[in-house]
């Protein structure tokens, strides 16, 4: 699907904006709303100036997350295809009634007579002192509820393709965009293309261990893998991309090959999605009983705000490196991974980030 001739690199932010522009242009029934979509900062730049190209179809809203969700649902069941943007996932706790009781159930509770084609974008995050109520990673909540699709694109390429897929999907799709991924770049074709929802991406083939991850911690996993490779470890890294539908067959194939599974998730351990994947592996009669499963998650307490604590809360490449080393029962040379992390502050995506949010 990737256009091999394209060499254009753009950021995750630009990919969102480009996909949204193309969707609005090609689908006259689509519209975009949310607080900040047409303001000077345009939802972190993901919607900047779109209101000028699509007057009446890109607009500001009151600060009423629950009602906005209901409005999108009402418009979706009467012929439109809405995109709703929330600047933080934390704000959507106000909208749980409409999302869980209505959006997720609408098709089911009326016997499949009406579809709900709507997209809800939510920003998740970490660091910069955003703290308890501006940087939660609540993916497991939404993945728990049948009737919603939950996707977590990690690259600009996947983001564009999955946003376009989400807009063509006849189900409610929640897109979780990690704030730190918004600054990342990848090669992105200019034309519209789709990356399928519900299919994971095997990024590196390997035989020693399977590492399943997604979103921002996938980047840490890939960093760790550079040093695992130097140590002769052959890890198979899977970017899950969609939590629901969950591409279990791909995980199963990989685990059957490697016999070891590490799941890395940027959310709390208790009741988290990493546990779901491990449980499915453990209960599958086709998978060897002696398969080793481990997970790396955030500790079970709210995220700290102080930069002094950030380095002790979030998952870093060294944590992943150490975990793999333990699972393989191998003494690996840690110097590379440690050197790479030296002096790194984990409260910002990189040294270019200067806040304020």
């Amino acid at each position: 699907m990737q256009n091999n001739t394209s060499t254009r690199e753009i950021t995750y932010i630009e990919a969102i904006r480009e996909a949204t522009y193309q969707v609005l242009e090609s689908e006259p029934k689509s519209f975009l709303m949310g607080l900040g979509v047409s303001d000077p900062k345009g939802c972190f730049g993901t919607t900047t100036n779109l209101h000028e190209s699509f007057p009446g179809r890109v607009f500001e809203t009151p600060v009423s997350e629950n009602t906005l969700t209901g409005v999108c649902l009402g418009s979706a069941i009467t012929g439109l295809r809405p995109i709703l943007v929330h600047l933080r996932i934390d704000f959507t706790m106000y909208a749980m009634d409409q999302m869980i009781n209505n959006m997720a159930k609408w098709r089911s509770m009326f016997g499949g007579q009406v579809n709900v084609p709507m997209v809800v974008r939510m920003v998740i995050g970490m660091g910069w002192g955003q703290g308890n109520q501006h940087s939660q990673n609540l993916q497991s909540f939404f993945a728990h509820v049948p009737g919603i699709k939950v996707i977590v694109p990690a690259t600009a390429y996947d983001m564009k393709g999955m946003l376009i897929s989400a807009m063509k999907d006849n189900n409610p799709v929640i897109i979780l965009e990690h704030r730190w991924l918004q600054f990342t770049k990848s090669i992105v074709p200019e034309e519209m293309y789709e990356v399928p929802i519900g299919k994971c991406n095997v990024l590196t083939e390997g035989s020693d261990i399977t590492i399943v991850s997604w979103g921002q911690v996938l980047i840490e996993t890939l960093k760790a893998n550079e040093f695992l490779k130097e140590n002769g470890v052959s890890a198979e890294i899977i970017d899950l991309r969609s939590l629901t539908p969950l591409d279990m067959p791909a995980i199963k194939r990989s685990v059957q090959k490697t016999g070891k599974l590490l799941v890395v998730d940027s959310s709390w351990k208790t009741g988290g999605f990493a546990g779901e994947i491990i449980a499915r592996v453990c209960e599958d009669p086709d998978i060897m009983l002696d398969t080793m499963t481990q997970r790396l998650c955030y500790p079970d307490f709210p995220v700290p705000s102080s930069p002094g604590h950030a380095n002790h809360y979030y998952i870093r490449s060294t944590h992943i490196f150490d975990k793999v080393s333990n699972m393989l029962e191998k003494e690996l040379d840690k110097s590379g991974v440690l050197a790479q992390e030296e002096g790194r502050l984990l409260d910002a995506p990189d040294q270019n980030f200067i806040g304020p949010f």
């Binding site: 009446g56 209901g70 409005v71 009467t78 409409q98 098709r107 579809n115």
Partner: protein, 324 residues
């Protein structure tokens, strides 16, 4: 206000009696334990639903909440499919997935009723937004009760509708009770209409005891909302005769003052309607007998159909979760 012609009056009376008789039959048969879902009967408060349904067009949207039988039926929702839904049968309006509190009939633009107080209010606003964006000349009626204004989502929705000039009618049936809790224990002594006015939305209160007068008032108010493409809040005073949920009279519980009950029963909507027709010289006993018989036959046919309809096939279980 225009005069009510005889044909329209008869059609309204027919619907009023029809909704009552259907609800009475549910009440009668409910103890047989074959309708295995909660029922929130609209006996006593049929007038607002019938009046608004005659005041709007067939292609206008309507949504409702847990006490939605009257709205579904008055809007023209299919009776057989409704009864099948109460019995959890395959031919139910929601294919047996919904039960009494989740009714839908898209053929008459009844977009859906759900069970959580205030839940469909923003969805109705969304439907009105959809009509606006697609340049349709529809209004959307959001049927709510007096407790809905206690939910935050009501205020959010009214604010959204007002700021975006959406043709949505917040149609509030004030029956003065939420389950057993009376209005004065839930809200301060101020008119519900003040809430709408604070949002810059026109608001009118109507005593719905006389269905014809109610209809005539609604007819011009709906026309105004449609013409101006603005939201409207309507409060309809009405009264529930039976328990909040279930088929029984519950006045033995003494949660409503005797005098209040007597006052409302003196304004019983069907009696008031009959007297109105008599005074207007439209009443005809033979016609009344005839429609009662016709309604009775229709109801029995619908119940027979539902009782003989199979449960939904097991293969359907879980098949509606996602669209292909």
């Amino acid at each position: 206000m225009h005069e009510l012609d005889a044909e329209k009056a008869r059609a309204i009376y027919y619907d009023l009696v029809r909704v009552r008789r259907i609800e009475e039959e549910i009440k009668k048969r409910y103890p047989l334990q074959e309708m295995r879902c909660p029922v929130h009967l609209s006996i006593g408060q049929e007038s607002p639903a019938v009046a608004i349904s005659h005041a709007i067009n067939k292609t206008d949207y309507m949504m409702s909440g847990h006490r939605s039988h009257s709205h579904y039926l008055a809007k023209g929702g299919d009776l057989r499919k409704f009864i099948c839904e109460l019995y959890g049968r395959a031919d139910g309006c929601s294919k047996g997935q919904g039960g009494s509190m989740h009714l839908i009939d898209l053929s008459v633009d009844f977009l859906g009723a759900t069970s959580i107080v205030g839940g469909t209010v923003p969805i109705a606003v969304g439907a009105a937004f959809s009509s606006k964006l697609q340049n349709e000349n529809r209004v959307t009626v959001s049927c709510i009760g007096d407790a809905v204004v206690e939910e935050g989502v009501f205020h959010e929705s009214m604010n959204f509708a007002a700021v975006n000039d959406l043709p949505v009618i917040f149609f509030c049936e004030n029956n003065f009770y939420s389950i057993y809790t009376p209005l004065p224990q839930r809200q301060p002594a101020r008119p519900l209409t003040d809430l709408a006015k604070a949002h810059g939305v026109k608001a009118v209160s109507i005593d719905s005891s006389n269905v014809f007068k109610t209809y005539m008032m609604l007819d011009s108010l709906v026309a105004e909302a449609r013409r101006d493409k603005k939201p409207l809040f309507l409060e309809l005073f009405t009264y529930r005769y039976v328990e909040h949920c279930g088929p029984h009279e519950d006045d033995n519980l003494q949660y409503r003052p005797d005098s209040e009950l007597e006052e409302w029963k003196a304004k019983e909507p069907i009696l008031v309607a009959q007297n109105h027709l008599k005074e207007a010289g439209i009443w005809d006993q033979a016609w009344s007998d005839q429609i009662e018989k016709r309604i009775e036959e229709e109801i029995h046919e619908a119940f027979d159909y539902a009782i003989n309809c199979p449960y939904p096939p097991i293969e359907n279980l879980g098949s509606y979760t996602y669209a292909k």
